[in-house]
Assembly symmetry: C2
Homo-oligomer: 375 residues x 2
């Protein structure tokens, strides 16, 4: 495995200190193993059943049962769907997959402190997996991140640093800290580090197995930086290369209307997203005005025949209620995928990825003013 | 399957309206199927892989992937343990198992509204599974139940009725409502209805499978009414009867010192618990002063060679922190099992059941006074 810059074609070793290319672009991975169904570890019902496809043959994984989440049939507004319950991962979001990979990698490298910036869920995931591996972590989050997520990160024993301002200010604070860190400090960015994308890649493998050896027609998921959708794309591309599926599923990325750089770029036919100032949205997990892998995400979605669209707060609230009243309690960010169903249209087998647990960001608090409980 | 009263030997049909015997005792089940390993549905990675052992051969299950939770190796204070991550069930607690069974049963009976009383987790579970089955639910909970649990129950669309006073007052309110309900109303009590215990029974089956076909030496779990431990006992008894294990694991039930009727009865050699007035404890999930199945739980624990002990608030806080700093974020109720490890002693293979998600009752809120957030 090598780090490769898709912008300037530069290459670096996988264990390089660099977290992005000198030209500023995010790395992709080169030389990833092929997917062989015979290599699946059948009695491991976590994402590590695919360890050989991730290139982690040796060494212990930093794991607590992440992945192999339920795929549940449900009917939403008369439409038959598969719901992939990623909110049942150990810390309550799909970010656990990438955090498990990163903690495993950096532990093997002998690093002692990992730094990341996050809207909350990736931070909670990295805090948990570094705790599991007895590494130290420092997490930078927006000051207005949901209190339940901040409480969770702090409970794991990570150093929690709330930062006022935009999500980009949070990233800048983390990157500055990494540069000032000691020799054992690394930027375990769930956006920049391409190994993170091995996490959501396993979602594609699982869907293929759980559907009995086929790909769905469509996959619908929330998109902030777009790592979930991009990882899925990589996974389905592996399955296609291995001759196990005949075509890619159409990938649909859903954004919040208040922060929709990728949806705007998609609609305008642009190759990359133009940064936007993030407006207010309930979907705090995808409040990303400057997506780092925008060009890659747009290319993947277009190659798949899918689309990127945006939904407003009112439809997020309605979709959140609809899901909960069917038994699925997710955070508002996850509800965007359901809010966009009428934009995606009908036809074929559709998987909606429910990314984060409703307990992380309750929309309504009974018998208490929301402001008192949520601040 | 029949309902059977262990106190007066009376029998009722399984679909009886009665939720307890005329003599006042809680029913047990008679005529449960034997466990046959060959009947396990191997490609179902939920608790419904054991559907034949539960006597649910026909009809659709009300399911969203509950059960088959991770069993993770961890070292806590130098002791090697298996942690059973029941907090990764769909609504964040092991109660989902019983709720899935009850919703399946009452849906097949044609009931339209289910009523239960709960400290919170069982209520959230029943609210979710009735939502999934398009049934209506009314849940009675203590007024001081954690706000995250109340928000969760309400989100599912259930009618949430907070009741001031003790846990017993909550139960009385629910039972009164059932008596005043229409013909489609049933008391889906997660304590009284013995089918609920089929839920935790599957924990025993899973442990046996996940350990490669053997029982652990010991199982340690929090005990309020004691349904988790009793269900496990039933499951291991099935495995013993089928000749699949050689002895029962020793079962350890852990209570909070402020509400410890079962620990007191165990220490005093009593056959049943004497009711106590529930004192204050962080372990809100086991704040039960009058355990309904006390005699059964005491008998099961004694038959297994285990014990019931109690731990104080300070050790609960310490155990909660210890778990979180190893990557396992649970609610304080779940931490009691870890707090009691020195009381249980060493020796043999130990499984600790982590019952509820930390997101349900955060112990500390960063950057906010705890009182504002927790009320």
């Amino acid at each position: 495995l090598n780090l490769h810059c898709p912008a300037c074609d530069e290459r670096y070793a996988l264990d390089s200190e660099r977290w992005r290319c000198v030209c500023g672009a995010a790395f992709e991975l080169e030389g990833t193993p092929r997917f062989h169904p015979g290599d699946i570890v059948e009695n491991d019902t976590s994402m590590w059943r695919y360890r050989s496809a991730l290139g982690f043959e040796g060494g212990p994984a930093v794991t607590m049962g992440e992945g192999w989440t339920p795929l549940v049939a449900a009917e939403v507004e008369g439409q038959a769907l598969w719901l992939k319950l990623e909110y049942l991962n150990p810390t309550g979001s799909f970010k656990d997959r990438g955090a498990s990979v990163l903690a495993t990698f950096f532990l093997a490298l002998g690093m002692s402190r990992l730094v990341d910036d996050s809207s909350g869920n990736a931070g909670a995931a990295l805090a948990a997996y570094t705790a599991r591996a007895a590494l130290r972590a420092t997490l930078y989050v927006p000051a207005n991140t949901s209190p339940a997520k901040r409480a969770q990160i702090a409970a794991y024993g990570a150093t929690l640093v709330p930062v006022e301002g935009t999500r980009e200010a949070v990233t800048a604070a983390a990157q500055t800290a990494v540069m000032g860190g000691d020799v054992g400090t690394r930027y375990a960015s769930h956006v920049y580090h391409p190994l993170t994308l091995f996490g959501p890649k396993t979602i594609a493998f699982e869907l293929w197995e759980q559907l009995g050896g086929r790909a769905p027609t469509r996959v619908v998921a929330p998109v902030g930086h777009g790592t979930l959708l991009l990882g899925c794309y990589w996974g389905f591309a592996d399955l296609l290369a291995a001759g196990l599926i005949e075509r890619l599923p159409r990938l649909y990325g859903i954004q919040a209307a208040a922060v929709a750089p990728l949806a705007q770029a998609f609609a305008s036919g642009l190759a990359d997203a133009q940064p936007v100032f993030p407006g207010d949205t309930l979907a705090e997990g995808i409040r990303v005005g400057r997506p780092v892998r925008g060009a890659e995400v747009l290319a993947a979605v277009r190659a798949s025949g899918g689309a990127i669209v945006a939904v407003d707060n009112a439809s997020i609230v309605a979709a959140h209620e609809m899901l909960a009243r069917g038994g699925f309690y997710v955070e508002p960010t996850s509800a965007v995928a359901i809010a966009a169903l009428d934009r995606v249209g009908e036809g074929g087998e559709t998987v909606v990825v429910l990314t984060g647990n409703g307990l992380k960001q309750p929309l309504f608090w009974p018998n208490a003013p929301m402001s008192a409980a949520a601040n």
